[in-house]
Amino acid sequence: MTDEKPALRLENIVKTFPGVRALDDVSFAVMPGEVHALMGENGAGKSTLMKVLGGILQPNEGRIFIEEESTIMTTPLDAKAKGVVFIHQELSLADELSVAENIFLGELPRKSFGRVDWGKLYEQTDAILKTLNVGFNARTRVGDLSIANQQMVEIARALTVDPRAVIFDEPTASLTDAEKVVLFDVIADLKSRGVGIVYISHRMEEIFKITDRISVLRDGQYRGTLETAKTDEDEVTQLMIGRSLDLSRNEEHREHGEVALEVRGLSCGDLYRDVSFKVHRGEVVGFYGLVGAGRTEIAETIFGLRDPSEGQILLDGQELRIHSPVDAIRHGISLVPEDRKGQGLVLGMNCRDNMTLPQVDDLTAGPFVSDGAEIAIFDQYRDKLDIRTPGWRQTVGNLSGGNQQKIVIGKWLSMHPNVLIVDEPTRGIDVGSKSEIHNLIRDLAGQGYAVIVISSEMPEVLHVSDRIVAMYHGRIMREFSAEEVTEDSLIQAISGIESEKVA
């Protein structure tokens, strides 16, 4: 394998966005017939790298080689024509069109006067589908297919050209175990045809099952490549997270105050059922579970974005009626949402206005907003949270992820909430800011706030929580105190294994 030319090679790629160096001198190569895993935490630069590769973004520096020939990918179509094909995590298919039309979208075979050559279209499609061994045909409407089969359509689309490299981005995210087996067969088949495969995934078992080598990105930098057969999960994790991140278990023992928030028998349709828990003042409660376990939905219910079908929400022993965020905010319940840019910030607005947005009603002098009062609040929380920005006029969209998150947290802290819910506090944030945010969350609890942290990262949950609630399929499986929790029992709980359920 070493004598061969790489199917695809990236050299010293640099990509910057305002305020962030998303890719910093990244090099990466995939050989023909190799399955090469690309790993890294959220925000490590994987998706940016793939966008550069796919012609969606242009790198500021660096070169791309296909079979050692330097090329420039101008558009996704151009990348495909050059033999680099993507199987995206989010499928981009037209539901109302047939499988064949989707596969040849934009490249339908034509007859004279621009008429579609349907015969040829279906013939070519069925030929490709045959090699994939699937149970549907060229004329099937895509909207009628399962997610797994839709993914097969995407793969079939990749095979309309003679691909040099196929990139799979979290392909198993929504597949069942049986469907995964089929997918892995297809990948093995591509591999045997000499196609280079880039496999992006967070799931270690898969990575160790199907890949040949593993390359790791961290904070936009290339951190090394490991031979899958000669490494283990620990080594990969260490490369991914780095030693700089302190994710030791939380071993503080603090006295907690009164119960601040209590939830009794809360249900919301199929999203979650019969959820009960308490959060004390001065305590961080971590919610851990797989994506889709209902954690975010519970947070949204408490914050008034969803109406529960049953159950009660109590604050300081008083039952609350919360039908909108307005109600929640009035009772001092605040939410730092999962999708910072989509739900938490008004990206086009400046830092100060973002921070004071929920309370600007109270910062008026006569009919007008008082600039001074606003700036005072901004300055206070900029210093308190160590937000690095040239000034309050800076547009929030130009800040780094960590500083953006601090603005969202500052927005609520400045209103002195009773309960602070933080959903995925460090998603897409670099390692340095991660520990700052973790420390901040611990500090807040120390100051007597009741804090709920929802996270999909186990080290994070273990690091910040005093108590951990494990969820599986919309149910609370178990509650752990920081002293008793072990990684094994936590994983079992969120996988639905009911071991020695404690009352």
Partner: protein, 333 residues
Amino acid sequence: MTKDTRANLVKQGAIWAFIVVELIFFTVAGNFMSVSEQSFIDFDNMLLLLKQSAPIGIIALGMTIIMINGNIDLSVGATFALSAIVLLDSMTWPIFAGLGDWVIPVSWTLALLTGVVLGAINGLIVWKTGVDAFIVTLGAMLGYRGLVFMYNGEQPTSHLNWTLVDFAEAQFLGLHTATWFLLGTALVLWLVMTKTVHGRNAYAIGNNREAAVNAGIRVGPHFLLNFMLIGFLAALSAVVFYSESGSVNPNDGMLYELWAITAVVLGGTKLTGGYGSIVSTLGGVIAIQLLRKGLGHIGADTETVNLVIGLILIAVLFLDRQLNRKGKEELKI
């Protein structure tokens, strides 16, 4: 001063630079091509220009807020016409016969109320159904125009009140009544958008509605208020204009919505919401009126004027896109 604020200043200044270019061009070109002896930058001519900008200008100022919200209102032209009819017709109603000139404030109030109610209908539908404002106000545009025709068929509705005409033709400090209304509206709305909570919320909602909801902003009532406001302004525009002219044709105000949107967009407000300024819209309004008058001054006919304005609008937006795209990622999908 950060880079952002500087960039914003440049952007807001652009429309005024364009106005200066227009003035220079038409003055110079006018010297060679004009049929009249009068210079283009004649003081009276400019005062008249401001007065003529008022009807669409007042509507465009309101449209700015609607568009900063990320909405649009296509029904303003019909609202304008219906309010005008209420204004002129109500002055002839027998129940007001004993009021003498006191009928004027009564009719004004009725006309303005008409605008507010029509706007409120739009706003309530947008709030309660969640249907896109484009669709709702497209329906309203047709519906309200239908009401206009139901009122008096194809006939114009006319009534001249000489006290009112005197008021409308008056000049205070050189500026016409209509100009004062335009500038007054601009001042009030500028204060609202830059200094008040309502203005702040308008930008936040337009920029990221979900984040605005999460910050506890009541988006529905906010929309309702803004649709009532633009209804009021469409009616105010009608009140100002028809106080002088005294006769409404059922087709009056048609395409006003599009002229207003043109002025707003020319002023740099984004169709997607979240960005825009009242002052720049005022610039957009004046720029369009300058073009019309200027082209007329050098002998172009109405058809040519429309063609040129259309071309300039597209050119300006293309230029804006080019300038804005610099340093940002180009969309390729």
